[in-house]
Subunit: 98 residues, 2 copies
Amino acid sequence: MSEPVVLISAFEVPAGEAEAFIAAWERTRDYLRTQPGYIDTALHQSLAPDAEFQFVNVAHWRSAAEHSAAMRSPGLREATVGMAGYRPHPALYQVVRT
Amino acid sequence: MSEPVVLISAFEVPAGEAEAFIAAWERTRDYLRTQPGYIDTALHQSLAPDAEFQFVNVAHWRSAAEHSAAMRSPGLREATVGMAGYRPHPALYQVVRT
């Protein structure tokens, strides 16, 4: 099976750390967009700075297997080092209703 | 200001309750799509049934004010009664990076 999947990651980011988070996220994105199977991504910021999840990333990948391979790829650790302070809640999804 | 907004709601739904949740969500959607400012919605289900958030709803509204009005509208309570058992984590967002 190689259906497209949606990676949704909600991040716990304190109100005052938006700029630092975005910079770290951009570095991660710049790496992941070089990986096979990456389609696109959109970083969502909450209108309220004190939301439980100030940021939610919604990314599309060609398949779960390719996303998994990107997560295991050699460059990932260095690309994501700046994200370490922000607790992520990631999972892979498919759209089931509209 | 009346820019479009993205409502992202992550729901805590036990693995065995997917069908009941989807039925309750459809009833809520059928009501909200009648409200001014509603654009579209997409219900995402996790590939893993035991994900922290088995469902994430991503909906677009024409403005935060219209979404807020829909949340205060007289029919909302009845339309959402089936959702009561599933803990939601909702917030309004805008896309800040792609």
